[in-house]
Symmetry: C2
Subunit: 332 residues, 2 copies
């Protein structure tokens, strides 16, 4: 059922089998499986996730390569609701381990917010990441190209950059190293730092050895039309010619609500998980971009399958077996 500030009070006394933080590809997969295991679950989605911005999903079995992320999310949200999951728009502020259950505190509504607390035996952290984008005065100019011809994922979109003039936009010297992977797809790489970092002599020499020019001026404007990039104008007036690009400026990890849980095993900002997407906390699972591994839709969807299945196994094994009561006397 779709929950809102109007009806969510009906769920406050309930203990969900699982609360899924994040209604992206992984979280919705988990919800579909949980519901089909007959388990109660609540998906809490803050909106504006990474896959919502995805203009097309090129590499997912069964969907046309021009399918927008938004369409898949809408479809999968309906799938999860149809099978019986609950769904709420809100922002998870805190998760507290209460021993047998987790308390999940949510902010609902941007104005006149309310702060309900839901309870679940398990929590699935599926809240993902968000890519840092270059900050320009006119952010609409960035959004006009990001996700179209200006990509954030080389695995997803490297193929579509093949042998094109490309910019690599990096915010730290370390992030410039992506040039030496991007060159699998195209050697025509200009590196832009947007004025965010200094670049040491060794990196300068390495770029020069590969023929990749380095531009350290801030970006002023992306040039082109109809989402097709043609060039990048820098603060000193120069225009760098490019028809495509990769933004590699790191990510915001939506994992703040887990930081209070003791003894969680992290690898940087990623959660370490086992082969069933379980973290070092036996009742906490992590999916997709939030866990260590490839940031791909297919992987997040499989992670949802694994987490839901392990939760089902745990709950099933702890439950009394259902007997065919009418037969007991007859068969005894």
């Amino acid at each position: 059922m779709k929950l809102s500030s109007k009806n969510l009070h009906t769920r406050l006394d309930q203990v969900y089998d699982a609360i899924v933080v994040g209604g992206g590809m992984g979280g919705l997969s988990a919800a579909i499986y949980l519901a089909r295991y007959g388990l109660s679950c609540l998906v809490i989605e803050k909106g504006k996730g990474r896959s919502l911005w995805m203009q097309d999903l090129r590499n997912y079995v069964g969907l046309d390569p021009d399918t927008p992320g938004r369409d898949i999310l809408n479809h999968a949200t309906k799938q999860a609701l149809d099978w019986g999951a609950d769904y709420l728009r809100g922002f998870v502020e805190e998760v507290v381990d209460e021993g047998e259950t987790f308390a999940v505190k949510v902010k609902v509504g941007k104005t006149d917010s309310i702060y309900p607390v839901f309870h679940g035996k398990y929590v699935i952290a599926a809240s993902g990441i968000m890519d840092h984008l270059p900050q320009l005065e006119n952010m609409q100019n960035v959004y006009d190209y990001a996700g179209y011809t200006l990509h954030v994922c080389m695995i997803c979109d490297g193929f579509d950059m093949w042998d094109q003039k490309a910019v690599l936009i990096a915010g730290t010297e370390g992030q410039i190293n992506a040039a030496f992977v991007l060159n699998w797809f195209t050697p025509y790489i200009s590196v832009l730092t947007h004025g965010l970092c200094s670049v040491g002599d060794a990196m300068r020499a390495k770029l020069a050895e590969h023929g990749y020019p380095l531009y350290e001026q801030p970006i002023v404007e992306f040039l082109g039309e109809n989402h097709h990039l043609q060039g990048i104008k820098l603060a000193d007036g120069q225009v760098v010619e490019a028809t495509t690009g990769l933004i590699n400026m790191g990510s915001i990890y939506h994992n703040h609500y887990l930081k209070g849980i003791p003894n969680l095993e992290w690898d940087g900002e990623n959660l370490v998980t086992n082969d069933m997407a379980q973290t070092s906390h036996p009742r906490l699972f992590a999916l997709g971009d939030l866990k260590k591994g490839l940031n791909q839709v297919s992987v997040a969807v499989a992670d949802g399958t694994l987490a839901a299945t392990q939760i089902w196994r745990n709950i099933r094994r702890a439950s009394a077996p259902r007997k065919w009561e009418e037969n007991l006397a007859k068969l005894a």
Copy 2:
């Protein structure tokens, strides 16, 4: 490109980056990724795989729950071909490790067969399993229900059996244990051995304690209409009432062509793989039902992503970096 006996000779001198054995969900996912990494690959599909028989895929993010396996396979085959993969109908007879490459011997054509040998740096084993079905004189009677109301996968379809009268068809005593998982979904379970195994006293007692009757006569006919099961007629004339069922009679593993490769790590008939779907042989990957883990479409699709990505990494790291030649003198 679609290959056939007419044109496959054009590919016999080529060394593919990867040869994918099996054009099911996992193999096609691998092919889509490989092609989008700009790697050459050949998918060899024998036909009649497990997912082809799937009448609906209930739990896959982005597709309607009544989508037949056949439609997804056709769609994904086109996806892989469109991105540049080769595809051949044939049966892989043998894979021989030649040190740097594998030689893959294929039988093409049921009559007047030819036996071409293809070469690839990597092999992806994605040939899956096939469920054993009860053998009746009239197999069409089995096919009329299998995949509709008579299921082979509890994770996929347990939900659709909820609280219905169900049969569990098992071929060994061990397989009867599925009753004690199936009872999560319904307690109204009749166990049928189809006359294939003897059942010990402990198992008989356990079934009786749960109220699950045991029928040891061979099945003669599935009764019902329009794929909707109503009962099962046994050899002694009894009819067991049931509207759904689970066939749990084990699987045929399509892994014969790997049995000659030394030092592969197996877990029964499943290949043991690491977190990138790589077997204990560094140039051999295994996906989906053939590897240890859950037999789910979402998992196979993610496995294809992982295997293709690791193969790309290996090949990329072994390749000379592409430089922007025109700039080299300028930047030196």
